[in-house]
Amino acid sequence: MKIDLDDVANAVLFFAVFIGIWQLVFVLGIWPKVSLPSPYAVAESFAEVILNYTLFTGIGITLGRLVIGFLISIALGTVIGLAMIKFKGFGKTMSSISAGLLSFPSIAWVPFSILLIGFNDAGILFVVIMSSIFSITISTYSSVRNIPPIYIDAARNMGAKGLSLFLHLTIPAATPSLIIGIRQGWSFAWHAIIGAEILMSIVGLGHILSVGREFQDMGLVIASMITIFTIGLLVDRLLLFKLEEKIRSRWGLSSDR
């Protein structure tokens, strides 16, 4: 992988400034130090959860669930989104229903997950999927409907239909807009998994965060937030943003005008 020095410099700068301000606030004692511990105390919390393996186990487990749940969401969500385009009446109704269901916070899904599936990984997957699938559905639906009709005409004209139309036209033509949706869906999935892990007290990053809160250990809370932030940032930087930039440059959208 090519490392962009500018990127690294920017990131380092950002973190340096952030930690500087934090330390300053801490030293000034604006807030009680139990509520806002020093960067050093957070580093200690980090060291602790790294040394006793809970952090990396937590990251591993949570990411595993997240990726599986999210991939299922993308697959199912796309299929539903496309069905909504194919069947207009269904699309119209489903688009509103999706908007309604997307309003449910993950906490609303938890009781149903426990009831329908049980207290296990599958239950967490259920919550993750339900919390992110409608985001994918809605954005697939809108993105595909926003494809300029001339592209569809051109492809149909050349014999594309059904699956080939979908693969060779719909997907690439909708991609710039789909990426926006996928980014947001990814965040919905994050929220859901953290929420579910907290509510269902199942091992994972969310659990670490909630243990931190329960034991009044703000160092641990902040450490898990930093972890969540970093993963979110890295996934975006290394995957989604890269992808977006590549597509934008192909479409001629990346000029610096």
């Binding site: 604006i30 807030w31 009680p32 139990v34 509520s35 938890v110 009781p111 426990i114 009831l115 049980g118 207290f119 509510l199 269902m200 007290s201 909630s210 243990v211 809160r213 329960e214 034991f215 009044q216 250990d217 703000m218």
Partner: protein
């Protein structure tokens, strides 16, 4: 509300003419629910204005106390211990008890649990990792020679919200749960379960603290007079409840309804109160024991914490003395 605090940040100075009290709409905060609801506390505090804040979980209450959003709060024992330890004993003090008892170990009737010998391979729930009931459950299992699965044993402890325990019991995904009242009563009534153990049976005189009043040390130092008046009101309310059981249920439910729109069915309330006690006694020893159990289980870090300084009962004892009641050692 106090939206002016938006830009005032957290001035550590506290005001003498206001006391901000936190509590939960729970039966073991009954004094607060009743006394803050019907104006008894305000009356007792005279021209010191009482502001209230409802919480539904310990961590928020402690966070709010630390952030100087409240001065005093009713809270369970573990959040108080954790808060005390995390602030190196600086930020808070326990100034009185509020409730004792009111926790039961319920098992499913068809789980084939008849004695402590039948726990192998079972799954039990507690309401929250590291909370009072969770510690009690784990300590109890340990005492009876069981290790939990994460320690290589064959009994699983699944911390899960009270509301979900009922579903899990009904779905037979768990075999039992150590819960606070009125959940014990509810599980017995609705989940085909019975009480395997009343936690009172494990404690001397059947007393163990489940709720108490904590105050920020800052506030205690600056406004002992206000705190004392509050404690007097607390003691009065406690006595009134204990002397007027039937009526207090009604008042409690009326206040609960104001706060949440819901009431607890009279029979559940009755049953719950039969296994607990409203008190101003903090039952110090039970808290020390509970903290030491928690440490043994591995919850409180590597160094056995010293919580001997967590109590400040001077004002409570003054109040008790003035009222001619027995003081707390």
């Amino acid at each position: 509300s106090n939206s002016e605090s938006l830009f005032s940040l957290n001035d550590t100075t506290t005001r003498a003419d206001v006391v901000r009290i936190g509590y939960f709409p729970n039966i073991n905060h009954a004094q607060a629910v009743i006394g803050l609801g019907n104006g008894d506390f305000q009356k007792a505090l005279g021209n010191v204005k009482v502001e209230t804040q409802i919480f539904n979980a310990g961590p928020s209450a402690i966070e709010a106390l630390f952030a100087n959003q409240i001065d005093v709060t009713y809270v369970g024992s573990n959040p108080a211990i954790n808060g005390y330890i995390k602030s190196d004993g600086e930020s808070l003090r326990i100034i009185a008890g509020a409730a004792s008892g009111g926790a039961v170990f319920v098992v499913r009737n068809d789980a084939e649990i008849n004695s402590v010998d039948d726990f192998s391979g079972k799954k039990f729930s507690s309401p929250q990792l590291g909370n009072t009931q969770d510690v009690a459950l784990r300590a109890y299992l340990l005492k009876n020679g069981y290790k939990t699965t994460e320690n290589g044993g064959n009994v699983e402890v699944i911390p899960v919200k009270n509301a979900d325990i009922l579903t899990l019991m009904l779905k037979k995904e768990i075999d039992g749960a150590w819960v606070p009242e009125p959940w014990g009563a509810k599980l017995v009534k609705e989940a085909n379960s019975r009480i395997f153990l009343d936690e009172r049976d494990l404690w001397p005189q059947g007393k163990f603290v489940t709720a108490h009043i904590i105050v920020s040390t800052e506030y205690l130092k600056n406004h002992p007079d206000v705190v004392k008046k509050l404690l007097a009101a607390h003691v009065d309310e406690t006595q009134w409840i204990n002397q007027n059981k039937e009526e207090s249920f009604k008042v409690f439910n009326a206040e609960l309804e104001k706060l949440t729109g819901k009431t607890i069915p009279e029979d559940e309330l009755q049953e719950a109160f039969s296994r607990m006690e409203i008190t101003y006694d903090p039952v110090k020893e039970s808290l020390f024991k509970s903290a030491s159990d928690a440490f043994d289980i591995g919850f409180l870090g590597d160094v056995r914490p010293d919580i001997s300084g967590i109590y400040d009962l001077k004002l409570l004892n003054e109040v008790l003395e003035e009222k001619g009641l027995e003081q707390i050692p």
